[in-house]
């Protein structure tokens, strides 16, 4: 059985592999080098086994972890009353998914943050007793008050930092706008928490602000999604917790070395979602910088790296970038995870070679444009620019169809009437369900991988 095998290697950091996909050939005078870097972590086996049989884990066998559940308890959660009940049930399901030995706490969020369980500025350690106690404590949750998400995050950070653990993770549920603190306050809280724990964010119903929820997930390197129907919360919370329990190593950074005279034009995660990382670089020695990627279980992600190198003569070859993975350690040193990928530039007069675009690069360039076209299209639609919105969403339909992103194509079809998908001809729907528009916006960054 898989879980039995996995138990022997539990404390191990997964094996990381780096694969580079690029056309390294440049024409004479060419400078821009694009590469898709696939990072794959394997060997821990925790995702499969934790999901299949979480209770088979006993204390000390999984990577040490702490989880904070942040549940919106603002007044609006009572409209309709099923929303609060569903949030309680979902939190209860998430608690059931906690692996034995994992530290956890439940935070109730309004315009202030309150410890719901265990209280006293501590974390509980998951076991049959604490799980039952926590679920009991959820009954006391009641709706009333405002929304200041920054305070919830700061409390979660304080609680999570009390445990000496490898993985720190938050799950945040909100149903409304962050009305009781300034955007600057939320931004400051996110800056303070970034790199200290990862956090998934969920919006329930349709009264919340998509950009707030996606902004939280993006800053804290977690996932964002909409749960339009509160009845779907329990299943979603269970999945989120299972994923969190599958994480094996935290704070992994993508380290990019580039040679002298080279400009990093951008670094972005492109699968499973588009996540801009360019601005999140921290310098790491001469000509090297680290880009945060958060925590990893058994999973694979793709990154698009684009650098501009100084031109060199025909027949010349240079290393345009070296990609490796590191974990920062106390004291400023890092643990190098071993795997590395080389991004090259080779100048050639073979036009066939230098003019072709690597299929992976082409695909993800399209996926990034797709996400951008959806966001711009929806913004223009809200601003009343019908022509602009039609053009952008038409382009999105075209890109989604061409790249085989069926999920996004389906979401788009709920917002526009597709006249000709291949040509990108669409008409805005006169009436669009708010949930459909918010789902499209929240999930606009989801990508598909290259069809092989």
């Amino acid at each position: 059985m898989r879980s039995g095998m996995a138990n022997f290697s539990k404390s191990n950091v997964p094996q990381f592999a780096v694969d580079v996909y690029q056309n390294e050939y440049l024409p004479e005078g060419g400078r821009e080098v694009n590469a898709i870097v696939t990072v794959t972590a394997t060997g821990g086996g925790t995702v499969g086994s934790a999901v299949a049989a979480p209770h088979l884990y006993s204390p000390g066998q999984g990577p040490s972890a702490a989880v904070a559940l942040m549940v919106d308890c603002s007044g609006s959660m009572d409209y309709p009353p099923t929303k609060m009940r569903n949030a309680r049930d979902a939190t209860s399901a998430a608690i059931d998914t906690l692996r034995d030995g994992v530290h956890f706490a439940v935070v109730g969020g309004t315009h202030v943050a309150k410890e719901v369980y265990p209280g006293g500025g501590r974390l509980a350690v998951a076991g049959d007793t604490t799980r039952a106690q926590a679920k009991q404590a959820l009954h006391s949750l009641s709706a009333g008050g405002g929304t200041a998400i920054g305070t919830w995050l700061r409390l979660a950070d304080r609680l999570l930092s009390t445990a000496d653990v490898a993985i720190r993770h938050g799950i945040l549920l909100t149903d409304g706008r962050n009305e009781h603190e300034s955007p600057e306050d939320l931004k400051a809280a996110l800056d303070a928490c970034a790199g200290r724990f990862t956090c998934d964010a969920r919006g329930v119903g349709t009264d919340w602000e998509v950009k707030e929820v996606t902004g939280i997930a993006s800053a804290l390197l977690g996932t964002a999604d909409i749960v339009a129907d509160p009845a779907g919360l329990a299943a979603d919370f269970t999945r989120m917790m299972e994923t969190a329990m599958g994480k094996e190593v935290a704070d992994v950074a993508l380290r990019l070395w580039t040679p002298l005279g080279t400009t990093v034009k951008f670094v972005k995660q492109v699968a499973p979602t588009v996540e801009e990382l360019t601005g999140r670089r921290t310098e790491a020695g001469p000509r090297a910088g680290d880009y945060p990627t958060g925590s990893w279980g058994d999973e694979s992600r793709d990154y698009h790296v684009c650098v501009e190198v100084p031109a060199a003569g025909l027949g010349q070859e240079m290393l345009a970038a070296r990609v490796s993975l590191v974990i920062p350690e106390p004291g400023g040193s890092v643990q190098n995870l071993g795997a590395q990928g080389l991004v090259r530039a080779v100048w050639t007069d073979d036009m066939t070679a230098s003019t072709s675009i690597n299929p992976q690069v082409a695909h993800y360039t399209g996926q990034a444009e797709l996400a951008q076209a959806i966001q711009q299209g929806l913004d223009l639609r809200k601003a009343g620019d019908i022509d602009g919105a039609t053009a952008k969403l038409g382009r999105a339909v075209q890109l989604a169809g061409a790249s085989g992103n069926a999920d996004t194509a389906k979401l788009l079809a709920k917002v526009v009437d597709v006249v000709d998908a291949a040509a990108g001809t669409v008409r805005l729907k006169a009436k669009v369900e708010e949930a459909d528009e918010m789902t499209l916006e929240t999930r606009s960054t989801k990508t598909v991988r290259v069809k092989k």
Binding site: P259, G315, M318, L319, R322, L342, A353, S356
Partner: protein, 470 residues
């Protein structure tokens, strides 16, 4: 452009057009003295061989068939057609079962499907570009070939900084250290690799290989060596291979093939194997070495989709006191350049190329064939995905001294005809082979250096011991 040796042209009496039999000294119809047939003006491998070749001591090599002293070109032989003897005159042990029973005298493309088995020696439709850094195991100092006297000369000083084991400094920016992958830690530039420029002398022969000016790595390889026959007579060996660029790891293929063939020849000749048989066996050994590469698991760095089997061409020559044996697969060539430049030079190999096959099959004339974009596609190569391997070998008994030029198309693209090649070969090439090889590589670089360039020079006859050390 390259040309097949037109056997038909010399299989008729030049006087009365009567068909001739190989070995005829006089025309059976009109009595025309065939020994005075003038050498064809083209670069067909015409070697006037008059009289008796001075045989070294007791060795009585069989006369290569059809090298009969009538100016007939030596046709392509399957090695098995030419039973070798050891130097005592005794029959050799039976050839290995791998040797094909016979091979057609001239490789001919199937007329209905001329492109079948054709391989372009350039990237095809690029989709992915798996660029393999040279395997460090293989790019390391070439292992010395047994019987090979001097160690390889270091690469040309202009390209190679003084070796400093402790701290290699980048040749491009002169500031950065060189990392383990061979790139500068400062400016990122790839450092000259061992194989970018290689020179080697071995006794009286020498070879030079260069990356050229347009390719980012050298996918050619060579091996040269000297040995002695059982009777102590000297023998020189040169093998030159050209990696097929559209295949995976072409540089590994050429290196493996040149080594395997060189080692096979240098092992077989001292045991008394007939040089033509030894050449045949060497090509088979090279083929197996290249095939074996396809079975090796890709290293992490080489993991890439769309890999295909490593492949290369091979051309080689063995020179003894009285015999010149050539062997090849692909479009790398051997030229004969007599010391007396008033006598005609010759090309001794026939390309396994699409154009050559079209001309040979009579489907196109030379102009048409070489105007086609498929002209330079090769139709024979070493590699796991090669069609049935057809090693071509031929032996010659030149009647005068000269120099044997063994080269890749990176050179002959700039000196295609035998006359052009002879013009490029310095007059003292037999005496100063390393210098001569450098001059020839320079000729290709001056012409544009569009491909890797490799050339080996072997003086004929092999100088007796002590006479030829450069």
């Amino acid at each position: 452009m390259s040309q097949m040796p037109q056997q038909a042209a010399v299989s008729k009496c030049p006087s009365c057009e009567e068909p001739l039999e190989p070995g005829d000294r006089f025309c059976g119809a009109c009595g025309y003295d065939l020994s005075v047939v003038p050498a064809r003006p083209e670069d067909s491998p015409t070697l006037a061989i008059h009289g008796v070749v001075p045989a070294p001591d007791d060795v009585d090599w069989p006369v290569a068939r059809d090298s009969d002293g009538h100016g007939h070109p030596a046709p392509v032989h399957a090695a098995a057609e030419l039973p070798g003897t050891d130097s005592g005159g005794s029959p050799l042990p039976p050839p290995p079962p791998a040797a094909p029973p016979s091979a057609p005298a001239v490789p001919v493309a199937p007329a209905g499907s001329p492109a079948t088995g054709v391989r372009f020696d350039r990237p095809g439709e690029p989709e992915e570009y798996p660029l393999q850094a040279p395997d460090p195991r293989l790019t390391a100092e070439p292992a010395p070939v047994p019987g090979q006297a001097p160690a390889p000369e270091p690469a040309a000083a202009s390209r190679q900084p003084a070796p400093d084991a402790a701290e290699k400094v980048c040749v491009a920016c002169r500031a950065g250290r060189v990392d383990d992958d061979g790139y500068c830690e400062n400016c990122g530039h790839a450092q000259p690799r061992e194989r970018d420029h290689m020179e080697q002398e071995s006794g009286p022969i020498a070879a030079v290989s260069d990356r050229g000016l347009r390719h980012h790595r050298n996918e050619d390889a060579f091996s040269v060596g000297c040995t002695a026959l059982p009777d102590g007579a000297p023998a020189s060996v040169a093998i030159v291979c050209d990696g097929v660029s559209s295949a995976t790891r072409p540089d590994d293929a050429s290196l493996a093939a040149s080594r395997a063939a060189g080692e096979t020849l240098l092992g077989a000749l001292p045991r008394g194997t007939h040089p033509q048989q030894a050449m045949h066996d060497a090509i088979l050994a090279a083929s197996q070495a290249v095939n074996a590469l396809a079975d090796e698991p890709a290293t992490a760095r080489e993991q890439a989709p769309h890999q295909n089997a490593p492949a290369c061409t091979l051309v080689g020559a063995v020179v003894t006191a009285g015999l010149l044996v050539v062997g090849w697969v692909g479009d790398s060539r051997v030229y004969w350049v007599p010391a007396d430049r008033t006598t005609p030079p010759a090309r001794l190999t026939e390309d396994d190329s699409w154009a050559a096959q079209m001309v040979a099959a009579g489907l196109m004339n030379e102009a048409e064939a070489y105007a086609d974009e498929r002209a330079h596609a090769i139709t024979g190569w070493l590699g796991a995905d090669a069609y049935e391997l057809e090693p071509h070998t031929a032996s010659f008994k030149p009647d005068r001294p000269g120099v044997v030029v063994v080269c890749t198309d990176g050179l002959w693209n700039y000196a295609e005809s035998a006359e052009e090649m002879a013009e490029a070969v310095p007059l003292d090439a037999a005496a100063r082979p390393l210098h001569g090889a450098r001059v020839l590589v320079g000729h290709a670089l001056d012409g544009g250096g569009h491909d890797n360039v490799t050339v080996a020079l072997l003086p004929f006859p092999a100088p007796s011991q002590g006479a030829g050390s450069a």
